[in-house]
């Protein structure tokens, strides 16, 4: 056996072998003893292959499916005509089609004509984009920008920007916790877990009122050890759609200052909540105006429809320009071993849209249109439910909530009923994405919600 193996092996060795003699090459192979020898055909010649090793990754289990994306998959598999996808927070038109903004098409056209090169961006990203995004967030004449106290680094949409922030916390504030709202976007926990940053929750959603548990929120923020990072949704809270009022924001800022905490904003819906870019940035600007040092992650997935291009930014507003410079250098240092430098395409689109006055105006109009459609749908849904439901239940929270999502208050069983009986796809926490709802389907949805709420426990 051994000799026949060796003779087969000999035929495979290329005639140019010089540095290693044939005998030396193969004399060790006999030692492998226990492994079975396998012959496989590859590249048109027989080569002796030693048995495939047991995979290093033999014991690796399937990762849990992402609950939100799983909803879309189930929806796609459903063959029923009346099905409705209220799972993913991606904007749809009244005809329930994805929407590529006109300004995006125009910007891409400009870019195509110019034939922009594909060279690497610097680690911090496209300068024109970074400037535009900070100004959009804070206002172009914000003192923090004028005083160069804002460190901005382009990131991979909201997720990537949050991850950069998390990595910064892990490196420079080891042991510090992040306080996140209960509930919050599911991926927040994953991001901080993988970045090895411990987190805890603050009360946020009150199921009794289907509104904000403000006292609970303030208490929990107060109770956290000094120097905790507090994750806040700048506007259009995901998943509840429940935002603090302006007065409540002031009080939240008070307690954060008193406890010497650091606010960390996740701004994924600027412009999408109210329809106004400036109005939706009020909470962030309030904190910055007080002279607080703030982290802000931004995303252009929703408001420019650039989901797939992964464009966002991590901003750190600090107390001096000198410290902003240092922080920026460290953010870059964290980005380098993640992806070296960020992708160029989405950044160019944003820079073109924001930097070209005609396109910027057009964008504002399109955003008002998108936010307007959602507000109309909320109204219609509320009207439909109120007129059909005679139980006297107060459904006005639908109107009070803001943004793409609504926490219906339905529990898991009721949500399952929505899917199983009514073919309405949503997440198990009772969240519906109004972006996936058309005026035409409001009546149907109203029926489904009423049935699930009253007849299922």
């Amino acid at each position: 056996m051994a000799s026949s193996v060796l003779s087969v092996a000999t035929q495979c060795v290329s005639p140019n072998a010089s540095s290693v003699s044939i005998n030396e090459t193969h004399k060790g192979k006999a030692k492998l003893g226990g492994s079975t020898l396998r012959f496989s055909k590859s590249s048109g010649r027989i080569s002796m292959t030693v048995a495939v090793n047991v995979s290093r990754f033999e014991g690796i289990p399937m990762a849990p499916p992402d609950p939100i994306l799983g909803v879309s998959e189930a929806f796609r598999a459903d063959t029923n005509d009346v099905k409705l996808n209220l799972g993913v927070g991606a904007y749809r038109t009244e005809e329930l089609q994805p929407y590529v903004l006109n300004v995006v098409k125009k910007a891409e056209n400009l870019m195509l004509e110019r034939g922009d090169n594909k060279e690497y961006l610097p680690i911090e990203g496209l300068a024109a984009f970074n400037k535009a995004t900070a100004e959009l967030l804070l206002g172009a004449d914000n003192p923090a920008i004028k005083e160069q106290r804002v460190a901005t680094v382009q990131g991979l949409s909201g997720t990537g920007s949050l991850r950069l922030g998390a990595a910064l916390i892990e490196r420079y504030f080891p042991g510090s916790k992040v306080l996140i709202s209960a509930p919050t976007w599911g991926n927040h926990k994953n991001i901080f877990n993988d970045a090895r940053v411990p987190w805890a929750e603050y009360r946020y959603y009150d199921p009794r009122t289907v509104g904000l548990d403000f006292e609970g929120m303030i208490e929990d923020i107060k109770a956290a050890p000094e120097g905790t990072f507090v994750l806040l949704h700048g506007c259009a809270h995901n998943p509840t759609g429940i935002d603090p009022t302006p007065e409540q924001w002031e009080k939240i800022a008070d307690v954060i200052q008193q406890k010497n905490h650091i606010p960390f904003f996740d701004v994924a819906y600027q412009g999408f909540a109210s329809g106004s870019l400036d109005e939706d940035a009020t909470s962030v600007r309030l904190f910055v105006a007080r002279g607080m040092e703030v982290l802000v992650a931004q995303s252009y997935s929703k408001n420019l429809g650039l989901y797939a291009e992964r464009i966002g930014a991590m901003n750190v507003i600090s107390s001096s320009s000198e410290s902003a410079t240092r922080v920026k250098s460290q953010l870059k240092r964290l980005a380098r071993p993640m992806y070296s430098n960020p992708p160029v395409h989405g950044a160019r689109i944003v820079a073109n849209v924001v930097g070209t006055p005609i396109l910027f105006d057009e964008w504002k109009a399109e955003m008002e249109m998108m936010a307007g459609r959602i507000k109309n749908v909320r109204q219609k849904l509320y009207d439909s439910i109120s007129s059909k439901d005679k139980s006297g239940k107060d459904w006005s929270f639908i109107l009070k909530q803001i943004g793409m999502f609504s926490y219906t208050g339905l529990n898991k069983n009721q949500s399952d009923n929505m899917t199983n009986k009514w073919h309405v796809y949503m997440t198990k926490d009772g969240r519906i994405s109004l972006a996936g709802l058309s005026l035409a389907k409001c009546e149907y949805l109203a029926d489904a919600i009423i049935d699930s709420y009253h007849n299922v426990s």
């Binding site: 997720t159 992964r310 071993p337 070296s340």
Partner: protein, 436 residues
């Protein structure tokens, strides 16, 4: 104090509001300036240099004979096609799957059994860096006590990537500065001496920064030794197609290992070979024993990506998929790669010949022996400095020259400059000898 009071007054706020900057304590006081990346620093010096004939040999980006970035026609065509393409988010995952399939075919071969049988877990990644980082995190999740063995030298960011993933790094012998070639015996020794089942990173072609690649026979021996020790081979393939000009030849090392039964991991980058630097297109694949395991590993990789950036940008993925699945575009691309590889080889030949014609007393064979984008010149740090200060020629501090930046119009100047700085050093050392 008075200023503060006035500030408060003019802001119309009630007196109890405090301005945190008053306390003098900033959150970021303890944050130091990050050390500057040497390549970035040199690049910045180059950009700031007003000398009209300056040469940039620092960054590994390909330039044509006129020193311009090279954008092959097929990309402009692909861009135009994509512009008219209405993308739905639901299609993103279909496009990604197609992209992975095409990438894996490219790496392992169209007819490779791993591709045919689906014995791989593949995910799109943020170019080469992203693919390496995904793997490093994956390695950490499932082998938290493992190390990574990196060649000495290697692309510096490899060290950062695994360190950031909290995996300790060990280096293995690779480059022999005396021969300016491969230190094969020491390499094999290090493989043998490493603990069984160690993780190793290998460059399958056009080693960065040295340009020194093992021969086919050497690769077979390395693969065999890996088998004996049950090591895990992870390939970082950033130059497939532009090293030799032939896609299959450049992937030979990878395919040798696969033939030998190794279940490899591979990071692919489309930055250089498709010129898509800024679009961050890459792929990570890990070979598995069966489809079930492939699905499990893939799900874990997606999970890691999900908390880092969710999904990679679609634009570059669309471009690559379009080009690889269109036979005409793919042919055109292969031709373009041959052009790039041939140009670089021609420049290597010219540079070496020029130096020899100048009667340089040094051995410049390594310029043509080494392959790929980079030439490890063997120049010492002070010689590199002289090149910058006296001749406005910029390269990495370790003497690595990016051949992509050498053109017919600057190669004479470059040869002359190298000759001058090496003569200066030689003369200086002769002087020193004579003094004793």
């Amino acid at each position: 104090m008075i200023m503060v009071v006035m500030w408060r007054y003019f802001n119309g706020r009630t007196a109890r509001r405090f301005v945190s900057t008053c306390s003098g304590h900033g959150w970021w006081d303890k944050v130091r300036v990050a050390p500057k990346n040497p390549i970035v620093t040199v690049n910045e010096s180059f950009l700031a240099d007003p000398f009209p004939h300056k040469i940039n040999l620092v960054t590994g980006t390909y330039r044509d004979d006129d020193g311009k970035p090279f954008t092959p026609q097929c990309f402009s065509d692909a861009e135009a096609k994509i512009y008219r393409y209405t993308l739905e988010e639901t299609n993103s995952s279909e496009v990604s799957s197609k992209f992975v399939m095409e990438s894996v075919k490219l790496a392992y071969g169209n007819d490779s059994f791993v591709v045919r049988e689906g014995l791989y877990a593949g995910v799109p990644a943020l170019s080469g860096t992203g693919a390496c980082r995904l793997f490093a995190e994956f390695q950490r999740n499932f082998y938290p006590d493992s190390l990574i063995h990196l060649p000495d030298p290697t692309w510096p960011n490899h060290h950062n990537i695994w360190r950031q993933a909290q995996i300790p790094v060990k280096t293995f012998h690779y480059y022999d500065p005396d021969t300016k070639g491969l230190d094969f015996d020491a390499l094999i020794n290090d493989i043998k001496n490493a603990p069984d089942s160690s993780f190793f990173l290998l460059h399958p072609c056009a080693h960065n920064p040295t340009g020194v690649d093992p021969t086919e026979e050497q690769w077979r021996e390395i693969s065999y030794q890996f088998k004996v020790k049950n090591h895990f081979p992870f390939f970082d393939m950033a130059y497939q197609g532009i090293s030799s000009g032939d896609i299959d030849k450049d992937a030979a090392a990878l395919r040798i290992f696969v033939e030998d039964g190794h279940l490899v991991g591979c990071a692919q980058s489309f930055a250089k070979n498709m010129g898509l630097f800024g679009h961050k297109v890459g792929c990570l694949s890990v070979l598995t024993r069966d489809i079930k395991q492939a699905a499990a590993v893939k799900s874990q990789l997606q999970h890691i990506a999900h908390s880092m950036y969710s999904s990679p940008p679609i634009h570059g993925i669309l471009l690559v998929t379009m080009i690889l699945s269109d036979p005409n575009m793919k042919e055109q691309w292969k031709k373009d790669m041959k052009i790039m590889a041939n140009r670089i080889r021609a420049m290597r030949t010219t540079l070496r010949r020029n130096l020899e014609d100048l009667d340089s007393s040094f051995n410049w064979e390594h310029i043509t022996n080494q392959v790929g984008m980079f030439c490890f010149s063997g120049l010492a740090p002070d010689q590199v400095r002289h090149l910058e200060k006296l001749f406005h020629i910029y390269m990495s501090p370790d003497g690595r020259i990016s051949m992509g930046g050498v053109t017919p119009s600057n190669v004479n100047y470059l040869a002359n400059a190298i000759h001058q700085v090496t003569r200066i050093s030689e003369a200086a050392s002769v002087c020193m000898c004579n003094m004793h």
